[in-house]
């Protein structure tokens, strides 16, 4: 299933809109193209927002895992 390695984990637990995508956008610019960041969020809004953000910025959400009270996103820097 998961055929990628996580370069970094970004903890956005407890943060509300718009901070998860703000942090994610700041983090992704520090990463190398092709690297994957694991982002942890407790904000239900990020389920819709992270894919929208990725689509708009040209990055890719490889996988989204929902656990009780926690969402894990695996985002790859594309460019």
């Amino acid at each position: 299933m998961s055929e990628f390695t996580v370069a970094k984990t970004l903890d956005c637990k407890g943060l509300a809109c718009p901070m998860p995508i703000v942090k994610l956008s700041m983090e992704i610019t520090k990463m190398k193209v092709g690297d994957v960041v694991e982002m942890l969020s407790t904000d239900p809004g990020s389920l819709a927002d992270v894919p929208s953000w990725a689509k708009s910025t040209g990055n890719a959400v490889l996988e989204t895992k929902q656990e009780p009270g926690l969402i894990r996103f695996y985002v790859k820097r594309q460019k």
């Binding site: 509300a16 809109c17 718009p18 700041m26 953000w53």
Partner: protein, 178 residues
Amino acid sequence: MDIEKELTELKAKVDSAPGMENKLSMVVFSGDLDKQIASMIIATGAAAMGMKVILFYTFWGTAALRDPAKKVSGKNFMGKMFGFMLPKGRNKLKLSQMNMAGVGTAMIKDLMKKKNVASLDQLFEVAAMLGIEIFICEMSMDLMGMKKEEMIDYPGLKVCGVASFLAEAKESAVQLFI
């Protein structure tokens, strides 16, 4: 008919069309706490989406940019009155509804803290980090007797007129008025 030539022409037209830049231009007119928070959330969100962001503070909105720690002298009577009546900075703003003599505003601030929603202070800090540009309407400041010296320290803070805002807005894919 030369389709390739027409395509090139069309492409040039599309590229030079107004409103094509990945940019958000927003007028922040309101001095209400709720609307100021909304404008900052949209602005920082847009910057995170990779957009260039310009905020044009005008009329009641300008009071949010006052720095309570700064004192200026040499204001005329009307300027002093406005200075006294208007909120001194973003932490003195009130809700547009359910203010209830300040109780509602305090409750919202408390709720925001509990729910870990970023405060205006934090949002301004993030905005500066993301390179969001703030323009202040010169005429509003002049009208209400405000001076640039009493405004917050914000990177690149610019006092200008409506033309500067419109020049940015014209190129922006998104324009908002709050």
